[in-house]
Amino acid sequence: MAKTHVTMKVNGAEVEGLVEPRTLLVHFIRENLQMTGTHIGCETTHCGACTVDIDGMSVKSCTMFAVQAEGSDIITVEGMANADGTLSALQEGFRMMHGLQCGFCTPGMIVRAHRLLKENSSPSEPEIRMGISGNICRCTGYQNIVKAIQYAAAKINGVEFQEAAE
């Protein structure tokens, strides 16, 4: 099958490559771009480990072809840190609240939570849980993932993070 030339912006940098039409976006990111932060989990659109941000939308990159991303603006977990290389509020939240155990779901969780907080900078706990309902943590560490996102929301809003009593 003839290959197609694609160009897109990933984490602010223009990238290009030759892909078959059937190449999934996640494979283009991991194999062509050698950016392996975006994980492949279930490969069936359920787990959310492959979530990337495309033109302001959280998308499961295993369920989109690379040719469809032509001209788009993509952010992966590699693009989540602050410009000076320090941890973003979300990354800091995951670190401070122990928002990961095995860490496999973490890139998808952080990229999804990034868009969630862009759309709603003060989500309630139910809104956070609904907001990450397309991301599965098979360590079942949701409690601390929710706290990590609450921590980040507080930091973004310039208020002190108050951990809810359990």
Partner: protein, 287 residues
């Protein structure tokens, strides 16, 4: 999992898309949000040799008011549907149901046109469209035609769409002001299809049901329009006897598959319960 090889086409107009589908024949499939088709292609349950991506056609997106109808472009995503004040105010059952479809990531890509045109009995929007009396605009080489949602579904993945036709928009009559509505969906987890689901749109007058329509999801190889169940409650105050009659009438037309969501009897039983709950909740929000 990697799909089979295919050629990718991205037409810029409906006419070009139709021409491609006609010229390429039955090995070509239109691609909307891709959240049903791409997983099927990865499992090699679908092996189209040509994909005609509809994302390049600007005119297929958007929500507008046309008299008493809300017209929704086929490529409008579930996320865009949820963001629309027009939808939330005029046809709130669509907002309620869209929130129960899959998960946030899928809703950013999944389209209402794909949801209704795919013919998957598990999709939520088809039964809603029947309940609302919606119609679909189908465009092909011979021009455009409108088909009522109630006449569109013929079998699992088998619809009134002819080869070379594309579903381009959905026209939803806006229900009466003060109508009651509810979509009750029993599912095992976020992202799952319904074990059984029921949509109800009704109006109340003097404490009694004046008008009522009921649709059912995933309890048959097609979505169902439960006419007898609706008739059973019109003129009643939704007393226990009327609710029982409606649930029984709805269960009588259900023919669900036995699968991981439960055996046939169970799915029919909970289907009746979804009808009862949707009727009660719809009546409680009617003004």
């Amino acid at each position: 999992m990697i799909p089979g090889s295919f050629s990718y086409h991205r037409p810029a107009s409906v006419a070009d898309a139709v021409k491609l589908l006609v010229d390429l024949g039955e090995d070509a499939r239109p691609l909307a949000g891709g959240h049903s088709l791409v997983p099927m292609m990865k499992l090699r349950l679908a092996t189209p040799t040509h994909l005609v991506d509809l994302h390049g056609i600007a005119g297929l997106k958007g929500i507008s008011r046309d008299g008493q109808n809300l017209v929704i472009g086929a490529m409008t995503t579930q996320h865009e549907l949820l963001a629309s004040d027009d939808v939330a105010k005029a046809v709130p059952i669509l907002h309620e149901a869209a929130l129960l479809i899959a998960d946030p990531q899928v809703r950013y890509r999944g389209t209402i046109g794909g949801n209704v045109a795919n013919g998957d009995p598990g999709n939520d929007m088809p039964a809603l469209m029947m309940t609302l009396g919606a119609s679909y605009r189908l465009e092909g080489a011979g021009g455009a035609r409108d088909v009522a949602a109630a006449d569109f579904y013929q079998g699992a993945y088998f619809t009134a769409l002819e080869p070379g036709e594309i579903l381009t928009s959905i026209s939803v009559p806006v229900p009466a002001a003060g109508h009651g509505y509810a979509y009750e969906k029993l599912k095992r987890k976020v992202g799952d299809y319904a074990t059984a689901a029921a949509a109800v749109v009704l109006t109340m007058s003097g404490g009694k049901v004046a008008t009522c329509s009921i649709g059912l999801t995933n309890v048959h190889e097609t979505p169902l329009f439960a006419v007898d169940a609706a008739k059973a409650v019109i003129g009643t105050s939704l007393d226990t006897a009327a609710l029982k009659k409606a649930a029984a009438a709805a269960s009588a037309i259900m023919a669900p598959a036995a699968d991981a969501r439960g055996p046939v009897e169970y799915r029919k039983h909970v289907g009746g319960i979804m009808v009862t709950r949707a009727l009660q909740r719809a009546a409680s929000v009617a003004k």
